[in-house]
């Protein structure tokens, strides 16, 4: 199978270019149909996310035609995007597809969404009827590879965002978060995001306090929580297992004295203070109190950095898995194609041989019948062995190339030489 992949990603193109090349999902069906028509490929798939737009075509692909299609479809001059476009063929295209699906090419290494996005692209293409015997096994293998990478390496294991890091740390303290209470002090996007993740991970109730009470009510509504007037927050803080503070206050909101009081009131039940304010809201010395744990923005960042390093290390192992999978897939694919090609080559040469014998039979017509039979036998034998001798090397080469990553091109060349049309 011949395969080509053309696209742009966050690595090659800025967002201004990517957004112009994006295919909205409701237009993909029509786009795929016109793509096949313009490029004469038999199969195609379009993957369009905010970080990448990629087009995979199989069975008779021509990268240039796909480029032309992209420009024409989006009505963009070719010069303006040519430097951003990359294109891969065959084994390289397979590798790229495997890496993308396994989240090795993602902006956030190991992020889990991309697998779902590729699956969605596959679903759309299937619905449009542009996926066949070529792309279907390839994509299914890509999904399996992504799963393998996820389960066999730690690439998606640890938190790499502030809010996930907060959840991860909270788990180290409380284990199960269900039934816990979180208090948000001050309204900030990041605080809200962290609360959202905690809520999704089982935190039962949310208390919100803010200097502007209306804002607190507004946020509390999102989490079905309770708003507390800022003046009274210290009366309620001991209900909270997790406190997320992000006010704009120039001084500490949670002093050591208050924290000591809280721990006492809670009968030493632990409290996790997440301080994402700058300047800080929580007195760092609170961390010295037994059962109180304070993480400020830098501490969280440090957790994230080292998690990221861990992911990078794991990515190396993931690449090895991908390499092996690409190799295995190419081998399987080619050996599936080599065998029928060999048969077709033999058949086409055999056909020529028979036709020629038939054509020259009349040269023997004056011979007596017994001599004629002997001569025909000899001719048959000679041509047969001639054919075998001539085909011997090409065929053994084809068998050998079945295990070579560049084998597909070689097989294609052989098919052209012997004028074998794709079935």
């Amino acid at each position: 199978m011949e395969l080509a992949l053309i696209g742009v990603s966050h690595k090659t193109a800025p967002v201004e270019v990517r957004e112009r090349l994006a295919f909205p999902s409701d237009k993909i069906r029509a786009a795929l149909e016109s793509l096949l028509e313009k490029t004469h490929a038999a199969e195609a798939m379009i993957l369009s996310t905010c970080n990448r737009v990629e087009i995979v075509v199989a069975q008779g692909p021509d990268a240039q035609l796909v480029r032309d299609f992209i420009c024409e479809y989006h009505q963009i001059p070719a010069e303006s995007i040519s430097e951003h476009l990359y294109s891969y063929k065959n084994a390289d295209a397979i590798r790229h597809l495997f890496r993308v699906t396994a989240s090795l090419d993602s902006m956030m290494l190991g992020e889990p969404q991309i697998l779902g996005q590729v699956k969605e692209a596959y679903r759309l293409a299937s619905a449009a009827g542009t996926i066949g015997s070529g792309l279907s096994p390839l994509l299914n293998r890509a999904f399996a590879v992504a799963k393998r990478v996820r389960s066999e390496t730690g690439i998606s294991n640890s938190a790499v965002s502030i809010s996930y890091a907060a959840v991860e740390l909270a788990r180290k303290i409380f284990g199960d978060l269900s039934g816990k209470t979180v208090m948000i002090i001050g309204a900030s996007k990041m605080g809200e995001l962290a609360a959202k993740h905690l809520r999704r991970n089982g935190v039962a109730s949310v208390l919100v306090t803010n200097r502007t009470f209306e804002k607190a009510v507004e946020i509390a509504k999102i989490f079905e929580g309770a708003a507390i007037p800022f003046e009274h927050f210290s009366d309620h803080i001991d209900r909270a297992d997790i406190v997320i503070s992000s006010t704009g206050a120039p001084h500490f909101i949670i002093t050591r004295q208050l924290a000591e009081q809280v721990i006492r009131n809670r009968r030493n039940n632990p409290v996790f203070f997440i301080d994402i304010a700058v300047p800080r809201d929580v007195d760092p010395s609170v961390n010295d109190i037994d059962n109180a744990f304070v993480y400020d923005i830098d501490d969280l960042q440090q957790v994230i950095d080292s998690n990221m390093k861990e992911r990078m290390k794991e990515a190396g192992r993931a690449e090895e898995i991908v390499d092996r999978e690409v190799q295995a897939f190419c081998t399987r694919m080619q050996s599936r194609e080599v065998a029928p090609t060999i048969v077709l080559v033999r058949e086409s040469v055999e056909k020529v041989r028979r036709e020629e014998i038939e054509r020259h039979r009349r040269l023997l017509r004056d011979m007596p019948a017994d001599q004629q039979a002997a001569a025909l036998g000899a001719i048959d034998q000679i041509t047969q062995s001639l054919m075998n001798k001539i085909l011997h090397h090409p065929i053994s080469q084809m068998k050998e190339m079945a295990n070579d990553p560049d084998g597909a091109e070689f097989i294609e060349t052989v098919r052209k030489i012997f004028n074998i049309k794709p079935q």
């Binding site: 180290k172 409380f174 284990g175 030493n268 632990p270 993480y295």
Partner: protein
């Protein structure tokens, strides 16, 4: 036969020991699953060994050093497996496997072909006193392990050291330590009571001056204090963990001290 079975069990328990050593050295969990499986099989052999011994002697064997250590180790394995099944705390193995191995190893070493039981220990009390005390020790060992895990995890969190550890959460450690204490303390109390009654029968009042018994009593007081603080003063976490460790040091000291009733053959 029972000796071979116990030796075989020891061999299987060594996988656990290897797990602990490698995990500590490499700071990365190594061979945990094989260790659990080996320990499970080892336990089956171990239980069979005890059953065969009991069958051969026509009594439940606890009097000899070999027997009591073997029984001790078997209970420790059982406790570990139960706790692991319930809590899924991998890191508990780091403490439990070596302890199990050492106990079984001592049992193997202590074996003698001599079957005689000292006059002193030919008493029904042995079937009450010994299992109670041993069960109490096992529970305290688990409380100790959970306390150590708690302190490790707490320190990591406080120092904000970035961790890829597989340590359980603070709450689970604390919960396990508390539960183990709640199980161990009544058992130990009954164990000491039964011991006192037995000693009273054998020696009269003089048993009270036995250093081993005194130490056992002090240890018991430490645990009493811990229970008190946990219930009344709301102690938990670090302070409770420290006291649980101090208590267990008392347990080890009591156990290894020879006194009037050390397990002498």
């Amino acid at each position: 036969m029972h000796v071979q079975l116990l030796e075989f069990a020891l061999g299987l328990y060594s996988v656990g020991l290897l797990h602990s050593v490698l995990t500590v050295l490499r700071k990365k969990q190594t061979l945990f699953k094989p260790a659990v499986v080996a320990t499970l099989i080892g336990f089956a052999c171990h239980a069979a060994s005890i059953a065969i011994r009991a069958y051969e002697l026509q009594r439940f064997a606890l009097a000899q050093r070999y027997e009591s250590f073997s029984f001790f180790a078997a209970l420790a394995v059982l406790a570990f497996l139960l706790v692991y099944w319930k809590y899924k705390i991998d890191s508990l193995g780091i403490f439990s496997f070596p302890a199990i191995f050492v106990m079984t190893f001592i049992a193997n070493l202590a074996y003698t072909t001599q079957d005689s039981v000292p006059e002193l220990l030919r008493s029904r009390w042995i079937y009450i006193h010994t299992p109670l005390v041993i069960l109490g020790y096992v529970a305290f060992f688990i409380a100790f392990s959970a306390a150590v895990l708690y302190l490790f995890q707490e320190r990591e969190l406080k120092l904000k050291r970035v961790f890829f550890n597989r340590l359980p959460s603070l709450e689970i450690c604390d919960d396990l330590a508390y539960r183990a204490l709640a199980v161990g303390f009544p058992l130990m109390t009954l164990g000491i009571l039964s011991g006192a009654l037995w000693a009273q029968q054998v020696w009269g009042v003089q048993w009270m001056s036995d250093p081993k018994i005194l130490l056992a009593f002090v240890t018991w007081l430490i645990y009493l204090l811990l229970i008190h603080y946990r219930l009344i003063a709301g102690w938990r976490g670090k302070k409770a963990a420290y006291l649980a460790i101090v208590g267990f040091i008392g347990v080890v000291a009591t156990f290894s001290m020879s006194g009037l009733h050390a397990f002498q053959p």
